[in-house]
Symmetry: C2
Subunit: 82 residues, 2 copies
């Protein structure tokens, strides 16, 4: 089996309101050394086998389903998962 680990993050130009809120909360907790927090999504997709256009398939799933290409970018890594 194959496991695709997909990371979807807001583009740098997009204000991350949830991340800002979490940063403020860490400061309230006393962790003044926190400079920035960015929040994203993480997906683990299991495939039973590699297809001919495997990377293209993952790109399509990311573009059409997991990420909003207007405001988010994604990256992924593929690992063997037996």
């Amino acid at each position: 089996m194959l496991l695709a680990k997909v990371y979807v993050t807001l583009k740098d130009s997009v204000v991350d309101v949830q991340g800002e809120t979490i940063k403020d909360a860490t400061h309230s907790m006393g962790y003044k050394n926190v400079l920035d927090v960015r929040m994203g999504k993480y997906f683990e997709i299991k495939f039973d086998k590699r297809t001919d256009d495997f990377e293209n398939d993952i790109d399509s799933i990311c573009d059409d389903l997991l990420a909003n290409p207007n405001i988010e970018s994604y990256r992924y890594e593929i690992v063997e998962d037996n």
Copy 2:
């Protein structure tokens, strides 16, 4: 600077409704080789310097703020970010 990359995922025993929905959607798109999808959260936390109890600090932030320990688990890695 230091960057903590935190991955928060549902425990294996917890049904991932969003992941199931995404799996069904991939099948509708024709990707029949998708066996399973799990959805989680991903955080990037920037710190200006390492504190004495740095790993403990990150554990506290994860336990108290980022993850619900009843249903979620987390892991993190720390990288230099200059």
